[in-house]
């Protein structure tokens, strides 16, 4: 299992992501954004979190024009598996690889804390290790995590089981930290090979650090690749 992890100027979660996947037994490679190709043996491509290009203009807006993104588009179109975490999710929505957009949090604050999430649809490789309705505890750390999609788009997400995770309390009741439409924390594309979420599963790998619920999430990729 080979995980390629993208690194833009301002990315800051690439080493956490590398550590998380390596702890599950994967081999990893960090790919600088100037690269025009991604390794041919890549099983999973991760767009890691951080603040690519300082979030200038809009989060993820400038990263989508980095040379490597053309290769990412081609990889995804061929069915390659892509996971965007936090800023990576923003890059994927800006690139059109995932539907919707991420706006400034409703409360206008940067939110950094553990948050419970409910698994909405596990009929995909990312969440297949979990059950629908499971509640996981995963850190969030974002300023622009307010997921927006119009009504027609939301209906499509629901109809195709593209909503992966929603923000909830510990019992699984909706609890919305940032104003996201339908409390959405993560979505996938219709083909279910491109995944994006604002929370950080790679930061939930050790009980001593608050939670290891991220393991079961990332494990899904390990099994399928």
């Amino acid at each position: 299992m080979k995980v390629a992890i993208l690194q833009f100027p301002g990315t800051n979660c690439e080493y956490d992501t590398q550590h998380a996947f390596e702890s599950l037994g994967a081999t990893t490679e960090i790919i600088w954004h100037k690269s025009e190709t991604i390794p041919s043996d890549t099983n999973l491509l991760v767009v890691a979190g951080g603040f690519s290009y300082g979030d200038y203009l809009r989060s993820g807006a400038i990263a989508k024009f980095s040379p490597v993104m053309k290769a990412v588009q081609e990889y995804a179109q061929k069915g390659g598996k892509v996971l965007g975490i936090c800023n990576g999710f923003q890059v994927l929505t800006e690139s059109g690889l995932l539907p919707g957009a991420l706006k400034r949090n409703d409360g206008l604050h940067f939110i950094s804390k553990h948050h419970h999430l409910k698994v909405e649809n596990n009929d995909n490789i990312f969440l297949e290790e979990l059950h629908n309705g499971d509640v996981v505890n995963i850190p969030i750390a974002h300023h622009d995590g307010n997921y927006y999609i119009n009504d027609a788009g939301l209906e499509q997400l629901k109809a195709n089981n593209q909503i992966l995770l929603t923000y909830t309390d510990a019992e699984g009741n909706a609890q919305n930290p940032n104003g996201s439409v339908a409390s959405i924390a993560g979505v996938c594309n219709k083909e279910k090979n491109v995944f994006g979420l604002m929370p950080h599963p790679e930061r939930a790998m050790e009980v001593i650090l608050g939670s290891d619920d991220g393991k079961a999430m990332l494990q899904g990729f390990m099994k399928s690749c």
């Binding site: 203009l57 809009r58 800006e94 706006k103 409703d106 206008l108 927006y148 104003g179």
Partner: protein, 80 residues
């Protein structure tokens, strides 16, 4: 030289949290009668051409591709 002034703001119907916060602050300062506040951004481009038509076309393309995210934002262009 043509100057293009691009205004980008959230679409009508997309909640503008910053606008709401500013509206709230204006209320606190007793500026009554403000019906609605929308916060946007202005991008000023100096373009090395005298062809207004071409400049407009170019700036529209810039807006569609990068300056605005048309999923959530509208833009307007003024050439001066």
């Amino acid at each position: 030289m043509i100057t293009a002034i691009v205004n980008v703001s959230l679409k009508a119907g997309v909640l503008d949290s910053q606008g709401k916060a500013v509206h709230h602050a204006l209320d606190s300062l007793h500026f009554n009668g403000v019906e609605d506040v929308r916060v946007g951004k202005q991008i000023v481009l100096k373009i090395n051409t005298t062809d207004k038509e071409q400049a407009m076309k170019d700036v529209e393309k810039m807006c569609e591709e990068i300056l605005a995210n048309t999923v959530i934002e509208d833009y307007s262009i003024e050439l001066v």
